[in-house]
Symmetry: C2
Subunit: 514 residues, 2 copies
């Protein structure tokens, strides 16, 4: 999940549109239904998978049909504008579905901030378990992302808050509710139980969907869903503390070098000569990129912590297993230059250029996952304050200020943030007390290497609202495709998730006569 800061777009700047292009290619090859895209050859695909660092066989290929559903712009009001329509994209895979006649289940991914294909490819768990459950798979794109764009397209939709203002989590949940209800009706599958899955913001949506729409879903797997990172339930410095601890856990020196680097970067940035040096040291394509250098490095650190997966993966970037370890190795390398900037460059080069294809870094790059709308969400309701602990944070001189963000929101969108809205609408304070006697059937997975875990639910709430915590886990690692190299703890996490979902289904079927 992106966090709100000027760093936001940096994660994409070097990958250029390649990942987005790749995503479409992979998806298209496996489609077996409507609205097929042009298809690359199978050998080309194998090469792409290889580049992605994934090892897939054909049987678990990401396959789906692409469909569209007509939604109202606004579900909660009845103004003339509320009746404006847009097309919401969803992907569907019925290969293993047992069908409506057997009330076989429907597994729905509650899409988050980006192209739905991106999340679909990174939620292999659903494909992996579909045969066992004879489940229909549905991946719904979040409004205002990807193709699910109101007002005819992004240019108008994102042009100002009069059009973009209908981008909100509550509208998105209602979209899901309406689409799922209609889909079940069309499939004559009214009695098929729905389980929702989501990771990161999608995980929050999955959990909130179970809380708000229990009549539509029987349970939710909310993976790495920081539903407590609002309204200061979680101390604002927690996110940076986890990132910092990840790096510190690899080496004390790594942590120290990064922590001290900000002062050096500031100092060098104060002279023209220093800037020229920095440009060369970090192989920036343009001198203008310099202004974004600190944000670019910050993103590399926190996103490496998020995606510190035990196997190679290409979620945000194409990375080796345990990227934080690799980055710290570059910083600590005894054979490397003694110059601290060269060492930072080495770490950044691992994060942004693990394949070694780039000769220089373009910090004014693109948004291959289509996440731009998150800026608006962070400027309105998704207010997750960040701060730094002077001892524990390695970002202490890199300042993210609530006040600065607030000003930026107002100047960029003309919106005023509603920092208490998420907890008012969905809860969060005293969650154990509140949900102990209320909710049921939610799994909160968190990996403690993931900085977002600091805002996650880390303890069981009652006998069916359960926390699964993996000490070595990263951001929704459980949702990734299983690989032969997965460590045992990850296999155990997934086994437990599967057995919990089995229990939900079994209880549902036993209650079906009601």
């Amino acid at each position: 999940m992106a966090i709100f800061s000027t760093t936001y777009t940096f994660r994409f700047r070097l990958l250029s549109p390649f990942v987005a292009f790749l995503a479409l290619l992979v998806a298209s090859n496996c489609n077996d239904g409507v609205r097929r895209r042009s298809t690359p050859t199978r050998s080309a695909l194998r090469g792409l998978w290889k580049n992605l660092g994934l090892s897939r066989n054909n049987s678990s290929c990401v396959q789906y049909d692409v469909k569209y559903f007509t939604q109202n712009l606004d579900h909660f009001s009845f103004t003339p504008e509320s009746y404006l329509k847009f097309q919401q994209k969803y992907l569907i895979n019925s290969k293993h579905w047992g069908g409506a006649s057997t009330n076989s289940p429907i597994f729905v991914y509650t899409g988050n901030e980006g192209y739905i294909e991106w999340f679909t490819q990174n939620t292999g768990f659903m494909f992996d378990i579909a045969p066992k459950f004879k489940a229909l798979l549905v991946f719904i794109e979040h409004r205002y992302y990807g193709e699910s764009m109101p007002f005819g397209g992004i240019d108008v939709a994102y042009s100002n808050s009069s059009t973009q203002g209908f981008l909100s989590s509550t509208q998105a949940l209602a979209d899901f509710a309406i689409l799922i209800t209609d889909l079940k009706k069309n499939l004559s599958a009214e009695n098929s139980p729905v389980v929702v899955f989501g990771g990161s913001y999608g995980g929050m949506l999955a959990a909130w969907f179970r809380l708000k729409y229990p009549h539509i879903t029987i349970g939710a797997l909310a993976s790495s869903a920081p539903i407590l990172y609002f309204d200061c339930i979680t101390p604002p410095e927690s996110f940076h503390n986890v990132v910092s601890q990840d790096f510190k856990s690899e080496s004390e020196n790594c942590f120290k070098v990064i922590k001290e680097s900000w002062k050096i970067l500031h100092k060098m940035a104060s002279t023209h000569r220093g800037k020229t040096y920095l440009r060369r040291a970090f192989k920036l394509c343009r001198l203008g990129d310099f202004d974004n250098l600190e944000d670019w490095l910050y993103s590399a650190y926190y996103e490496a912590a998020e995606t510190d997966y035990p196997t190679p993966a290409n979620f945000i970037q194409n990375l080796p297993a345990y990227p934080v370890k690799h980055m710290c190795k570059a910083i600590d390398d005894p054979s490397a230059s003694r110059n601290i900037l060269d060492r930072l460059y080495g770490a950044a080069n691992i994060f942004y250029n693990y394949t070694g294809n780039l000769s220089c870094f373009d910090l004014g790059g693109s948004d291959p996952h289509g996440e731009e709308g998150w800026q608006f969400q962070a400027s309105t309701e998704m207010v997750m304050p960040m701060d730094d602990d002077p001892i524990k944070s390695m970002f202490i001189a890199y300042n993210v200020s609530y006040e600065n963000d607030e000003k930026r929101c107002e100047s960029q969108y003309g919106t005023k943030r509603r920092p208490h809205w998420i907890t008012t609408e969905y809860g969060g304070h005293n969650i154990k007390r509140v949900l102990k006697r209320f909710a049921s059937n939610i799994i909160f997975f968190n990996g403690l290497r993931d900085p977002w875990s600091s805002g996650g639910v880390l303890e069981d709430i009652n006998e069916s609202v359960l926390a699964i915590v993996a000490e070595k886990g990263a951001h929704h690692v459980d949702l990734r495709f299983a690989t032969k190299d997965d460590p045992q703890w990850l296999r155990d996490v997934r086994s437990r998730e599967i057995s919990i979902i089995e229990k939900w289904l079994s209880e549902y079927y036993s209650n079906l006569p009601l």
Copy 2:
């Protein structure tokens, strides 16, 4: 609760603004805080209470302070318009509150379609039990009713769907959530448990509030809340069947006379002479009132059924105990004229003129309870279809057609109804199966004399989502002030409600350390 038809305003036409005026007088006398209104003498009040058919002593007088809270127009979107403000009125009584230091409870009435004073005066149960629970009482007015009017007033707010479109149940629930959260913070009463109460539409809101905002309320008493009268979960003819059965239970003849009267009324309406006769027979003030005669009679029947209370009451009209029995007596009276129209007049005269003050009926009257906005709600989301069973209904020739309503909605407001929205947003289908393992702490009270009970929850769902059903009860009779003449069954209902609420509170306090 009003139902959507052209009959809507008829319940008010004869009472003129007297009830509204009276309501304000009564409220004002008991205020002991801010924004006091001019105060009538105590002897004048005694007279007013007597006219209302109520016997009240000073200790249970309806007392409150009037306050206002600033709300955003739209909670679910972030357009510039969403930030427009309006003042939401609420009434508060802290006379018996144990205070924040003891975490004493807060009882909140979730206001429905009308002036909040109207519901406050008809929810004496909350005043009756406040001392026992040391509870703070809060009655929140629903947006777009009473004084809680966006856009500076009703003239603009109701002028078209661009302004009125923000009148919706979801926005209202969010208003409640925000107001309660803010109020608790201001009172430093964050740990005081909130129990919500509501009758009719307010009862639906109370139940939905517990379902959607369990982090804000620990339980809901949803009285006469027809949450299943949507999307054909309840057969559309059910409402009229109950009204008809109420009249039939008094006498078979009463039912038959009413059932046959529609044909006679139609026939007479086809000639000028017939119209003149009807005007005279029903003592209509103006010949023009004739066009509304059928609706006026229809309203008298169904509203008498709704308010078939065991003691005199003035909720919709000033009525004796068991008004349906009185109306049937008028129809069956062996000493009355043999003319069927005279007998219908006798019944209508009981409903609309029990005090005998009116010399003629003005069918173009006013809206003393401020319910006009319900028309818009029924034209958008509150779609509760009505139909007639040819055998069981006494309204068989009085036709309420979904298609006609649909056309009227579109022509009046330019809105298209969303008949599946309520069940999509709040559920309702298979409610037992859905809520069995999910919800907790809701009481659904229904009186089977009340036609709305047909859309109520009449069976326990789990050990804490409970149905209390009173065979002889009418529309939210349990919420009314206790009187010395209350039958035992009504005392038992209230005792049970009190003991259930006690249990919720006790559980809450035992979980407070969590």
